[in-house]
Symmetry: C2
Subunit: 465 residues, 2 copies
């Protein structure tokens, strides 16, 4: 059975696979920082070369932002056609002083669990995950000379920075990108050694607000009390976003379209998922924040959230300065579930701010992306064979779970191409995604490659009638 040949190929080729992953990790493709635009292009070109090497027809495709990577490899007549999606861009690396090794000089170190950890920005999100799929294709080609089904690869470079160019690109290239199912590798496992397919994803709205009071910075002795302090005003406005007693977001209509979680689902999650204490202990916390009456897991999997992602104003350096600043800024994001409408919530947030501004102060807003939540129908034909394939690799039943993160592509693929997605990923809770010392377990990378080999074979049984 050739699946074995491909798996053996993945095992013997692991060192080579790793060195290719390290090459990609060395490219600082931070999409949100304009000075890294050339690095984003470099990552795209690296991926095109890699796809060609494996046997794909591949090219860099321009967009108004960072370029896309598209590749095609034809499988046997009548076999299904899958669209694989991933992203080559990464998050910024600050605070740099908390990294134990340079973010873009990948290293492999033994972690507290005893497993080796591939440490670098993007190791897990999403370069490491993208490479599990490409290396699986490489092993299949090497073992069989071909892939078991037709594969189209789409790798974008703006997932971490709003991704406004993805939907237009999907729509403009509908015929080329349409397939039977999308495979998205940007999610995690239920826990170490416990594979999962994510069927619920939260959407997101990002907003940046800058409050201006006086027309210049003032001396807090000369003007303190008398002139409005934009930091104080911003704190009042942000503090009002949540009800202190219930933890609920106070924006009018915010919970419209938020589905009630079925009791049996909650019961199942309480059985398979970590307790609040288990979930928070790894990050040094013990008390769940947010909404009263929901577990930490429920809050991240299927409840909407409101987070302040950044705040800045006045004198932030060493020492003290008795300044009463002219401006203060905050970055706020909302995670959405069910049918919550990103643009309605953006408008409600802006109205919340405007309603609290004195007549002589002003607010400016910068939008940072907006996407609806997405849910994969649990009865799609590709789901059962994929779950079986994952169980075979990990020797552990594969779970169907939710995810707190936002992966707009799921909604956009549905909207532009009318396709369902399978969200299969090998990340772990402790991967420090978006944080210093981001890592990806060697086991996740290795068994991730092997998992894709099994999944691609398993999906061949689902050729469209």
């Amino acid at each position: 059975m050739t699946v074995q040949a491909a798996l053996t190929q993945a095992d013997t080729g692991l060192d080579a696979s790793l060195s290719r992953l390290f090459d990609l990790l060395r490219i600082p493709s931070i999409s949100t920082q304009p000075e890294h635009a050339p690095d984003c292009r470099k990552a795209a070109e690296w991926l095109v070369d890699t796809l060609k090497e494996i046997g794909f027809e591949a090219s860099v495709r321009e967009t108004p932002g960072h370029p896309m990577v598209v590749g095609h490899a034809k499988g046997p007549e009548g076999a299904p056609h899958v669209l694989f999606y991933g992203h080559y861009d990464v998050q910024p690396v600050d605070p740099l002083d908390l990294w134990h090794s340079a973010p873009f000089e990948p290293v492999m170190v033994k972690g507290p669990t005893g497993d080796m950890e591939i440490t670098a920005r993007g190791a897990a999100d999403d370069k490491g995950q993208v490479m599990t799929f490409l290396e699986a294709c490489r092993a299949l080609k090497a073992a069989d000379g071909t892939l078991p089904l037709s594969v189209t690869v789409l790798i974008e470079g703006e997932e971490e920075s709003g991704g406004v160019n993805l939907l237009p690109f999907l729509e403009a290239n509908r015929d080329e990108l349409k397939a039977d199912v999308a495979l998205i590798c940007d999610t995690g496992m239920l826990a170490r050694g416990m594979p999962a397919i994510t069927t619920m994803l939260r959407g997101m709205v990002g907003e940046e607000v800058t409050i201006t009071c006086a027309n210049r910075d003032l001396h807090s002795g000369m003007y303190g009390n008398a002139a409005r302090n934009p930091i104080q005003l911003l704190c009042d406005i942000l503090s009002d976003l949540r009800d202190g007693a219930t933890g609920r977001v106070t924006l009018p209509g915010f919970y419209e379209g938020v589905p009630v979680i079925p009791e049996e689902t909650r019961a199942l999650w309480r059985k398979i998922g970590p307790t609040d204490q288990e979930g928070l202990a790894p990050v040094g916390l013990s008390l769940p924040a947010g909404e009263i009456g929901y577990t930490a897991l429920e809050q991240t999997w299927c409840r909407p959230s409101c987070e302040i992602n950044g705040i800045s104003g006045g004198y932030e350096e060493k020492g003290f300065k008795t300044v009463l600043p002219s401006k203060a800024m905050a970055k706020v994001s909302f995670r959405l579930v069910g049918d919550q409408d990103p643009e309605k919530i953006r408008a409600a947030f802006r109205a919340h701010v405007q309603a609290r501004l004195p007549a002589d102060c002003s607010a400016e807003f910068v939008p940072h992306g907006g996407s609806r939540a997405s849910i994969v129908s649990a009865n799609m034909p590709f789901l059962p064979p994929a779950l079986t394939a994952l169980e075979a690799e990990w020797q552990h039943p594969a779970a169907v779970i939710g995810c707190g993160g936002s992966i707009p592509v799921v909604t956009e693929v549905q909207q532009a191409l009318g396709m369902d997605s399978l969200l299969i990923g090998f990340g772990l809770e402790d991967d420090r995604v978006h944080s210093p010392n981001e890592k990806y377990d060697l086991t996740c990378f290795h068994k991730g490659i092997r998992s894709w080999i099994r999944v691609l074979y398993a999906l061949t049984g689902n050729a469209p009638q």
Copy 2:
């Protein structure tokens, strides 16, 4: 009458006086930033050389922090002895991009009022003011060969950074520094062309608080809602510092020792002072913030305040990062009046924060100075002649006013040397003290020199019996 000779000397020597001031302004003596420590020493040495040139015995005096400058010049037998105080250190210059010229390359430009403006960091606070006194002494020496009274000069380098070393220095050098009255030049006029002596000064307590929640930055998708957000927590804590309806500070006992302003004083101030609109218009505001029931002027002259001087947390740069940070920091200051106790208020603030911390979060505090408010007794013998001298120079009655700023030296001189202070300064509301493009009107500098010549003569009539 030799006062005329000295005044003429001040007029003819103005250009030379200006070029000396510019030399001092070119030294970036920012006391709160450690990398500028050598510049602080340089400023101190420059002042010692200048004092010697004028005819003072002067020297740089070491402290655990930035050095002090002390100089002595003996006057006629039986004449009073004054202690002049000023500071050579300046505030940081950020935000640098808002300066129209380099902060430490002084320029003179025509201002909107038609007067020439000396523009540089420290032009008004306090180098320009210090130089009005030194140049007055220079003119007196040049005209009379001596000073009309004995003068001791004390210029410190930590007024803008907590000034913890001043009190110990005063106590350690009590005999050397004791005089009949202290002359402090770090305050302003009532308005352009309207001289004033400040008899009420607010004290200050500065605190820096850092809140820590998770032990590392988190992904707001994975942990949002479930893990405590330190920025949200900090906003809640800071928002609770003031009562939204009354604008009053909520710390228990905060208003203990705050004196009631006599109705006649309030009436007088309403007569001589600017209206709220007049006072706020220059900075682009129209509505007074802070406490309900007090004018902007009353709030800054004789009511305590609470200001957030800086805040920082999460991702503050361009673009967006869905991070849930581990820490958030704020710098807060309270201006004190009457008998408010700085240390009691510091303790109340820390208790306010601690009381609002969930059990799994922590707060660290850094104290930044603390001083009581000070009031100069209105019946001190040196006050009337000084007021008369100022009126003679400005051809406008000199007012007795309050000041929102904190000048700890007044309390410390009283405490360590048992001396009263006369606060005579020539700053204006629009000097942009602590802000970009700080300036000092040429008229204030010139007539400031002339004012000191008249004041020093006027005080000779008050030799101690």
